[in-house]
């Protein structure tokens, strides 16, 4: 069932392995649901996050990722399910006692306090001794390259500096979990890239468990240890960036992560974990799991990444297509091709500049081959995800 994605470590048969896995758990959500009025913001979320792991919640707006973050922070209470932080049940523990550090999209720095007071806030609230506060604030400001900015007000800082202050303020309390709510989306592109590198580096160095909320798939792919892809209040798949890209569990994950085209195909037969699909004049092998319950002979949608198409001589080609547009991208060329026999929409094919060199212009008829790696098919006409 997709609603309870498997966590490989916890499913290991040996008790020792399971105990070890539990010990290493920083955050666990057991069937957590949250409704606002009649709309379901989060539907039965099961999630385990390991110590020091960088877990990203990825999805379009309204998918429930921010609700999940707010539930972990304690800003919201779940309608169902339990939340654990460091193996302690925190479902009914108020936010101020959870020891999470949060960085908001707008940083939410206290505008009436200077940088040092902002950063010291959490230590003061926890009754840390004055001298300790001073040394710890100085340390964290040095780590965030903010030494010398102690007396500035937040509005006197640039966006990047404000973000560093927000991060320093969250990290100085040594949180059990660091929560990042779209922290990069307010930064301009260049700054964003350098802040991402910096945040990832600090996260790794401190080994702090991190939950990162974003709708930006490239950000998610480059930063995360694992990603939970969410849609409509559901967690669709939890996996490493590479596995999400190569083995998407459903149509939504496939289309949300990276690019790809859908081709109409037919399920020929199932062979154990594999399914044989006929598409155009070729047959390809895909994992059987996403096709659970589909009868042989039924129509299916085959999902193919742009780099898995190649040129083929017309006699052996799986498909015949007509080049509708070709876009030069320097090291590669993106081709958009009409394939009337197998797809209503244009397919997207990526060739290296060298491969594409021999092609004539738009309107050329070409033969297309389909690679054998990382193909995946989904049942046809499933309700929109």
């Amino acid at each position: 069932m997709l609603s309870r994605p498997a966590d490989r470590a916890a499913e290991a048969p040996a008790d020792v392995a399971r105990d070890e896995a539990v010990r290493q758990e920083a955050v666990r959500l057991d069937g957590v649901s949250k409704r606002f009025g009649t709309s379901v913001a989060l539907d039965q979320a099961w999630l385990k996050i390991g110590r020091g792991e960088f877990m990203t919640l990825l999805g379009p707006s309204g998918c429930g990722k921010t609700t999940l973050l707010n539930l972990v922070a304690g800003f919201l209470g779940p309608d169902e399910g339990e939340i654990f932080i460091d193996n302690a049940l925190v479902t009914d523990v108020p936010a101020y006692a959870r020891k999470t550090g949060i960085v908001f999209q707008n940083y939410a720095l206290f505008p009436h306090m200077n940088v040092a007071t902002n950063v010291a806030y959490g230590l003061k609230a926890r009754g840390v001794a004055k001298e300790d506060i001073r040394t710890r604030v100085a340390e964290v400001l040095a780590m965030m390259k903010l030494t010398g900015f102690e007396d500035r007000r937040p509005r006197q800082l640039s966006g990047g500096q404000q973000q560093r202050v927000a991060l320093a303020r969250a990290l100085v309390i040594q949180p059990k979990v660091l929560l990042l709510d779209e922290p990069f989306s307010a930064l301009d592109k260049n700054l964003r890239a350098s802040m991402q590198v910096e945040v990832k580096e600090i996260q790794r160095r401190l080994g702090v468990t991190t939950i990162f909320v974003t709708h930006d798939q490239s950000e998610a792919l480059s930063l995360s240890d694992r990603i939970a892809v969410m849609s409509g209040g559901r967690i669709c798949q939890i996996d490493t960036p590479e596995r999400l890209y190569r083995k998407p569990a459903d149509r939504f994950v496939a289309s949300f992560i990276g690019e790809g085209s859908l081709l109409k195909g037919k399920l020929v037969r199932l062979e154990g974990d594999s399914a044989i699909i006929a598409v155009g004049s070729a047959t390809v092998t895909v994992p059987a799991k996403p096709l659970d319950g589909v009868e042989p002979g039924s129509q299916v949608d085959l999902f193919i990444r742009p780099e898995h198409f190649h040129l083929s001589n017309p006699a052996e080609a799986a498909l015949d297509g007509i080049v509708a547009a070709s876009i030069y991208q320097g090291d590669h060329v993106d081709l958009y091709i009409d394939v009337p026999q197998a797809s209503a929409a244009r397919i997207h094919m990526r060739l290296s500049a060298r491969e594409a060199a021999g092609l004539a212009g738009n309107g050329t008829k070409i033969g297309i081959g389909i690679g054998s790696e990382d193909l995946v098919a989904f049942p046809e006409n499933r309700s929109q995800t």
Partner: protein, 272 residues
Amino acid sequence: MARPLSHRVMSFAGRALVVAILGFIILPAFVVAVASFNEKALLSFPPQQLSLRWFYNAINYKDFQSGFYNGLIVMLASSFLALFVGAAFAYVIDRYEFRGKNVIEGLLLAPLVVPHFTVGLGMLILAAQIGAARTFSLVIVCHVVLVLPFVLRSVYISLRNLDQRLELAAASLGAKPGRVLATVTLPLLMPGLVSGWLFAAILSFNEFTASLFVTVQRTQTLPVAMYNYVREYADPTMAAISVIFIVVTATLLALANSFLGLGKVLNVEQAR
């Protein structure tokens, strides 16, 4: 390169209009101020000879003295009471969803719609029932009701402008609700609270219509004392006391400005 004639005419007309509007605003106060320095016992303009005798008269007039004193007490009591009640209601209305919220909000803002003399008359009738018709409490309660909508609006707008993520951030950093209120919410609401209080204070000090009903000789506020004076005399003392009035109010505003900046106090600037 000359601009078209029509542009120049329009631009001149625009400026003239602004000057005219400002004139209408400032002129009455100006006329009264000048008339107050008239040496003669006439309310006339312009004065032939200047004198401060009407100021002397106004300051030493017993009813004005007690009226000023009463007004000050009523102003302080009613404005602070209204501040607490209004801020509490504004907080509840901003932060909580409950049945009848619209009704409560409507009732709290009702004094904007109900004429002041109606409020005053109603208060008088009710107070008479419990034998409180001659008390300061009646005047203060009446003023609280009248100024409450202004405090409520002012604090409510500030609450709307307050980014609740600041409070969430404070909570996640380990601050309990009381600490969040004291260190984040209240400091950031300060401009709204001050402006609400200021409006309440000025309105209360100036309030006449309802005060006429709910005050007696012992409790009459300055505007009521002025009304009673003008029924009997028509000399520039009235003008002089008006000038004093303006000076007091302007001083209040100037104080607020020096503490917080008028833009913030009047809520025309973002409070952050």
